[in-house]
């Protein structure tokens, strides 16, 4: 009788082990080779070779515009695009691990914070060449705490109160220049059946614009900057007054702001359901065609006469070179190109919701909004960068975002709110 030969458990295990090693042996060197970044041939020598580029321009319009600009740079640039918010959140790990040579970032304290920790390459030599094309304010926003430059500005966009011209004309509204006029206009809009002020704070940062502006208008730019740097107390009556003023316009704001994204709020402005919207110029990305022509803005109204409307919130976006860059010369060449007027104009052709930072940029191609923005920022005495760029990132994200959302849900308890912010601020700014 022939007994069928069944493989025993041991032979199966032995066979599997042999098979796995047989597969792994040739695969291992290939895998290890793949782990190494491709040597860019440039190294620290000629400035040629591929430049890797970490980008947070994830929305359609900016992504395409950036691609157009990089295509004309004359260098081989490999772009690595990450979702906008995700890029910011992962920046710490990104910069510590294997960052790209050049990466997109923002001016202000947020840039100085990472430069101080040694994550960025000093590009003062690039600035010695391009410095003549930029204003003093731009250079100051690009300088780290140690006096060296780490950042190259690309574009900026002001925050202002946006509205639709056709709505204002048809209902006979006048652009307000003082706080009382602003409130009166809001009351009129409410009586006409519009929701006066749009607000979408689901992401946590849009409401910071309102706080910044009320603070700068009421208490002045210097107080605002010191408050952001942790040098003033949040329990100061000046700060409480900011929240008290904000309470005055809350009845005119869209309810349920914490559940609404800024894009949805912008669409409510486009749909003529709301009358005014304090946001950055990127709100224009949500308007298309004839609606885009109808969009206009006015600067945030004056509150205290001594400060007038002298400050503008105009965040600057730009680029930095990581400390671990492999192709530093190539990266510096790319930054010089991106700082040039022609690169900035090329970008703005496809994404006209921003203004170039280079003085020599050709403004003749600007649409009405861009021209107005250039004048507004050009004539401003002080430029702020926005709360989450003017202060420490851990304070902005773990303290201010929840605190402002709490304020919108429960606006009555200002004393308790500022006490909590001050308490948390003390623990963060000392660490």
């Amino acid at each position: 009788m022939i007994t069928p030969h069944h493989p025993t458990r041991r032979t199966v295990l032995r066979g599997a082990a042999l098979g796995a090693t047989a597969l792994a042996v040739p695969a291992l060197p290939a895998a290890l080779a793949g782990c190494e970044k491709p040597d860019s041939g440039g190294g620290s020598g000629d400035g040629g070779g591929t430049v890797t580029f970490g980008s947070n321009y994830s929305d359609e319009v900016p992504k395409k515009a950036l691609a157009d600009v990089l295509a004309k740079s004359g260098q081989d640039v490999r772009v690595n695009t990450v979702d906008h918010n995700t890029f910011q959140e992962n920046i710490n790990r990104y910069l510590q691990a294997t960052p790209d040579d050049v990466f997109t970032w923002f001016a202000g304290y947020r840039m100085q914070f990472f430069a101080a920790q040694g994550f960025a390459t000093d590009i003062s030599d690039v600035w010695s060449e391009i410095g003549g094309d930029f204003s003093e304010a731009m250079k100051a926003a690009s300088t780290g705490e140690d006096g060296k430059q780490y950042f190259v500005p690309f574009y900026y966009y002001p925050w202002a109160v946006f509205y639709r011209k056709s709505v204002f004309e048809s209902k006979g509204y006048q652009v307000p220049t003082t706080w009382d006029e602003y409130k009166a206009l809001a009351a009129k809009m409410k009586a006409d059946g519009l929701t006066p002020i749009a607000l979408g704070n689901k992401d946590g940062w849009p409401a910071m614009g309102t706080f910044d502006y009320i603070n700068m208008r009421l208490n002045g730019y210097d107080f605002h900057v010191n408050l952001m740097a942790g040098k003033e107390s949040w329990e100061d009556p000046k700060v409480k007054q900011v929240f008290t003023l904000w309470q005055e316009i809350l009845p005119y704001c869209q309810t349920g702001a914490n559940g609404r994204t800024w894009q949805e709020a912008a669409q409510s402005l486009a749909a003529k359901q709301t009358g005014m919207y304090l946001l950055g110029m990127f709100v224009g990305q949500q308007f298309s065609g004839a609606d885009a022509e109808d969009l206009d803005y006015f600067p945030f109204p004056q509150i205290a006469e001594e400060h007038g409307q002298d400050s503008v919130e105009a965040p600057i976006d730009g680029f930095m070179i990581s400390a671990k860059a492999k192709n530093v010369d190539g990266a510096k060449r790319l930054l010089k190109y991106l700082a040039s007027a022609e690169a900035q104009n090329l970008y703005l052709k496809s994404d006209p919701n921003n203004v170039a930072t280079n003085n020599k940029a050709d403004t003749s191609g600007y649409n009405a909004l861009q021209k107005k923005a250039a004048e507004l920022v050009g004539g401003a005495k002080h430029i702020s960068q926005f709360l989450d760029r003017d202060t420490r990132p851990d304070f902005a994200s773990t303290v201010m975002i929840p605190s402002l959302q709490t304020f919108l849900t429960n606006p009555k308890d200002v004393d308790g709110l500022v006490k909590q912010i001050e308490g948390q601020k003390k623990t963060i700014f000392t660490s």
Partner: protein
Amino acid sequence: MTITTQPPAPRTTARRRRVARFSPRDVAVIGLLLGIPVLLDVALIWGPTLASVALSFTSWNGVTDIEPIGLDNYRNIVSNYPPFWPAVRHNLIWLLFLGVVATPLGLFFAVLLDKQIRFSRFYQTALYLPVVLSLAVIGFIAQLLYSRDYGAVNAALGRTDNPIDWIGDPSINLWSVLVLVGWRHVGYVMLLYLAGLKAVDPALKEAAAIDGANEPQTFFRVVFPVLRPVNILVLVITVIEALRAFDVVYAINRGRNGLELLSVLITDNIIGEASRIGFGSAIAVILLLISLGFIVTYLVQVFREERA
């Protein structure tokens, strides 16, 4: 015919015989196959856990030097960090909801479907389908359903002028999310109990019926105690799901404004731009202690019974 009974073999001989069955090579293989996972477990789970506990007593931002600061992180979390107590509350509410509402509902459906009614296969599939969805997808679904201005629920309720803000209103958004999470949990629990019920010996139910028990009595007095292994499994799963809840709220609004959870607070402080590693580690240690509370209670119960 005589009935012969063999005297039971002396225990010592049997044990000696059992040990002799393992050859040295078998011992080596078993050692290796158990040793590697244990090593991985220690290196990837317990090592970092102990490191987190150590880091929770320091102040570190991941780049500059580590500064030991004693219990300051814990003091700040408990007294100076507004999202913390709401997060603890929400985790406990999550646990209670899953344990008291979703799990019994799953058991109920399992009992119903065990009765071989018509279309039971269809009901099983329909109830189990949500389990296939990942929790992040459920978060996206929640936004589509519950969006204040454009959501399906407000449209279905006809409240377009005065919509309910299911997600933006911090007093109700946790419950809106829990409904969807429960929807998924019910299917999961139902399937586990269905399998358990099929393994119950029908002779037990017949014996109960003969003794004059009605349906509820049969179930609670006879069937439910026999389902003990499944009960333990379901309990463990429910506690794990409640304490590790993260994906749904993160996908909806990053876990803010009424949807705070301990897991989200940890990631916000450690992984985000903030990089307050010592502080985040302290929150993680607190979550670990809460989890250990449940695990230790459970293990004490199990060992007490094994000894009895």
